[in-house]
């Protein structure tokens, strides 16, 4: 277990470095953007004097590096600032959106991970068979279809034609389980299309990698049933690469869900970040970037811890 602890401590240190890097990168690339919050707020009605006045109001006349340092100081003391677009506290805006994103991501993960693992393990067990090839082409076709097309076709079939499911994901405040499943069925399905393929392919490759190791081939020769070979002998050693692939795929679910959020009118955090970009709302943009980065680092950490815990060699040194 001490290996896990050391890992976590080291990760906490480097996480701080990574977050700092992200904030600098985001600040650097967003300062490349033409216009600022003042000109975007005024839009077509921006006149030079109106922009100047609003700029002063929003504190945009400060030099860029000072604005960054102010923001950083605020973040360290726990205050991510106020949105420049609507003057609400960033914390409040995020608090309304983050749980929604997490719920969508969680539901998607709950469906996608078991399905992907099942597909990956099955195709590995029966590699080269027709089933394997069919699953291979199926997962590839799933990932090859543009996300917006999958979502739109799904809405067309299940909401417009069959009228089984709603076309928008307007989750009521305190939904029953049935309402929840109905509301989320289509967006979850769309996101599954996107991430299942990658996870399944990585699982297949990792399991095959183990299945071709001498110790597993030996077990198979001794007459152990293939399912047992795959699940008991190969899988635990393949967990490392698999959880890493799973972590990478799941990290897509927060920031990458922008298309699904747009089509299903779902108020998640990815569309919030796009709004922040288009309105040049620096504090909000930074806050979103910090959240995506934290989520990613957490996922990678969990993946590595899982890998250590699942690997018998590391558990019993």
């Amino acid at each position: 277990m001490s290996a896990t602890l050391v890992l976590i401590l080291r990760r906490l240190g480097s996480a701080a470095v990574t977050l700092l890097l992200v904030s600098m990168v985001v600040f650097a690339i967003s300062s490349l953007l033409p216009g600022d919050a003042a000109s975007e707020t005024l839009g077509q009605s921006a006149t030079p004097e109106a922009v100047a006045a609003l700029r002063a109001q929003l504190g945009l006349n400060e030099p860029a590096h000072l604005r960054y340092l102010h923001w950083l100081a605020g973040l360290v003391t726990g205050d991510p600032g106020r949105s420049m677009a609507n003057n609400l506290p960033v914390r409040e805006i995020i608090a309304g959106r983050l749980p929604k994103s997490l719920l969508l991501a969680g539901l998607t993960a709950a469906v996608a991970v078991p399905v992907a693992l099942a597909i990956g393990i099955f195709s590995a067990m029966y590699r080269g068979s027709r089933l394997d090839r069919a699953l291979n082409v199926m997962t590839l076709s799933m990932v090859a279809a543009p996300e917006f097309l999958v979502a739109t076709v799904a809405v067309l079939v299940f909401a417009v034609k069959l009228r089984w499911l709603p076309s928008l994901t307007l989750a009521p405040e305190h939904p029953t389980l049935g309402e929840l499943l109905r509301a989320y069925a289509l967006p979850v399905m769309t996101l599954c299309f996107v991430i299942i393929a990658q996870m399944a392919r990585m699982t297949r490759a990792a399991v095959i990698d183990q299945l071709t190791q001498p110790y597993v081939e030996m077990a198979a020769l001794k007459g152990v049933r293939p399912a047992r070979v795959a699940l008991i002998h190969a899988l635990p050693n393949a967990i490392g690469p698999i959880v890493n692939a799973v972590a990478l795929s799941l990290s897509y679910l927060l920031g990458g869900a922008i298309i699904v959020e747009t089509i299903f009118n779902y108020p998640g955090i990815a569309s919030l970040m796009v709004d922040a970009v288009t309105s040049r709302d620096m504090p909000l943009l930074q806050a979103c970037a910090m959240i995506f980065c934290t989520a990613y680092l957490l996922l990678v950490l969990v993946a590595d811890v899982c890998a250590i815990l699942a690997n018998p060699r590391l558990r019993h040194p």
């Binding site: 006149t47 109106a50 100047a52 677009a85 417009v160 089509i263 709004d275 709302d281």
Partner: protein, 515 residues
């Protein structure tokens, strides 16, 4: 009725037929032809966009979703009727002898949603706050002509303008001039005197408003509640309507009309308005500033093709000036400029500009401009002019590209008066004089028309201005784009107010649910 309102009303009546005429078999009848309204019901409405920048502050309204929200929650001093004539609302009368000093008499017994009565101070605050540069009002430049607003007699406000303007009652009907409570700065919850009370407002997520039982119009509104959301993707918006998840949408793509009409359960409302997307040919740059180049570009706009291919017929061919056919000041008989590549080629060759390569900036921010640019590019290529289309993202387009390059596209929402259109977009010193066009004669006519008391002479002046803009102006206006709304047929009383879609954004107080 005060003299000014009735005078404008009479004139506006001439335009009614044109503005309301409906085309196509599945278009809805105007609301007046339907049965008596009934109370109750709750609908969900999806507009084009909704973002974290959504606002409850009327001064900052930027998108259709904002305007709808504002007209639900607030009332104005005046409001538009179906012919864009200003009708009295919170103001019982608006009078002026010289069109400079206006006396506004407020309706009695009007209450804000918090129960406080409407006072002259609320009106004065609502009008003057636009002049504060720190507020970021969208109509700051229009409000600049208000010199002062002060209390008159009991329940009266006196407004003094910088120069005569007969259109003040019309200007006051636009959503930015809706009346808010005196001194309010926090717009998290809207406190207005409008037909609905805002109960939920989450920027970029949704707005829920419930019926205001104390609304100053007896009996209205009819719906119990309206939920307003934004669905930016058009296909998704139509799907939401067809699946029954929303009951009313705006900005329908003409290509979707077939699907919507096929259900039999949905109606379509075309609003012929003055909305246009124009090609801007900067007059203060070379080579676009040469009259030959400008005229050639206008001749290269294939208006019929744009109307048919791009808008599937839901548009009206325009004639390179901003006054739509429904406007009372529209000049009949001005010869239509047509697609004439040979003439364009001749002009360009004479100017020695054939074969040059010109960048052309278009953006989804200006409706239809990317496809218009493609059509123009194709026409130009056929005569040997190389236009390189530069599609740029919506965000940042208005501040960084619009009017900044020799060839760009602009997009102008309907304005209620000819004076506003000309003063905002064509006057030599206007901030949004898109093409940098300078014409002293035009400016003189504009100022004279604004204070002109004689209607016939005023109309003559606006006619002359249309000729000047058509002949010499630096913009090519190919078509006026119709707004298309679609709705569940159980929604009754829906019609068109040609300042914009969704009944000029104010459907909420007129419609009812019949199910």
């Amino acid at each position: 009725m005060p003299p000014d309102l009735s005078r404008r009303g009479l004139l506006g009546g001439l335009a009614e037929v044109g503005a309301l005429s409906a085309a196509g078999g599945i278009l809805a009848l105007p609301g007046s032809a339907q049965a008596a309204p009934r109370r109750g019901g709750r609908i969900r409405v999806a507009s084009v966009s909704s973002s974290n920048a959504d606002t409850l502050d009327p001064a900052k309204g930027a998108l259709s979703t904002d305007y709808v929200r504002h007209y639900m929650v607030y009332s104005g001093l005046t409001q538009f009727d179906a012919a864009l004539r200003p009708q009295p609302a919170l103001a019982e009368t608006i009078e002026s002898r010289d069109r400079i000093l206006w006396r506004i008499k407020l309706r009695k017994g009007v209450r804000f949603h918090d129960g406080s009565p409407l006072t002259a101070d609320d009106v004065i605050y609502s009008l003057l706050r636009h002049k504060d540069p720190g507020l970021g009002s969208k109509v700051k430049s229009i409000a600049a002509q208000i010199l002062s607003a002060e209390r008159g007699g009991p329940g009266e406000v006196l407004v003094r303008l910088a120069q005569a303007n007969a259109d003040l009652p019309t200007i006051l009907a636009t959503s930015h001039f809706l009346i808010v409570k005196n001194g309010v700065r926090d717009f998290r919850t809207g406190n207005g005197a409008g037909p609905f009370r805002c109960t939920v407002f989450k920027p970029g997520v949704r707005t829920v408003a419930v019926r205001n039982a104390d609304y100053w119009k007896p009996g209205a509104p009819y719906l119990d509640a309206v939920e307003l959301i934004g669905i930016p993707d058009e296909v998704s918006r139509v799907n939401a309507l067809l699946s029954g998840d929303v009951q009313l949408i705006n900005a329908v793509n003409p290509r979707s009309t077939r699907r919507i009409g096929a259900t039999g359960r949905h109606g379509l409302q075309e609003t012929r308005s003055g909305l246009y997307t124009d090609l801007i040919v900067r007059q203060d740059r070379a080579p676009t500033g040469s009259p030959a180049f400008t005229e050639a570009m206008k001749h290269l706009l294939d208006r019929e093709l744009i109307r048919k291919a791009l808008f599937r017929g839901y548009a009206t061919v325009a004639n390179d000036h901003p006054i739509p056919p429904g406007n009372p000041y529209y000049l009949q008989g001005l010869p239509q400029r047509v697609y004439d590549p040979e003439r364009a080629k001749f002009l360009l060759r004479r100017a020695g500009l054939l074969g040059v390569r010109m960048p052309l900036y278009a953006s989804p921010a200006a409706e239809g401009s990317v496809d218009m640019a493609s059509i123009l590019q194709e026409a130009a290529a056929n005569i040997g002019l190389n236009l390189a289309v530069n599609r740029v993202p919506s965000d940042g387009y208005w501040s960084n590209h619009w009017m900044k390059h020799p060839l760009t596209f602009g997009n102008t929402n309907p304005r209620p008066t000819a004076d506003l259109l000309f003063s905002l977009f064509f006057k030599s010193d206007a901030d949004w004089n898109e093409s940098g066009w300078r014409n002293a004669r035009f400016d003189q006519l504009l100022m004279a028309a604004r204070g002109e008391a004689d209607e016939a002479r005023r109309k003559q002046m606006y006619g002359d201005m249309q000729v000047l803009v058509h002949d010499q102006g630096g913009v090519g206006i190919p078509v006026f784009i119709s707004g298309l709304d679609a709705f569940d047929r159980r929604l009754k009383g829906f019609g068109s107010i040609p300042i914009g879609g969704l009944m000029g954004y104010s459907f909420a107080e007129y419609v009812w649910w019949d199910a």
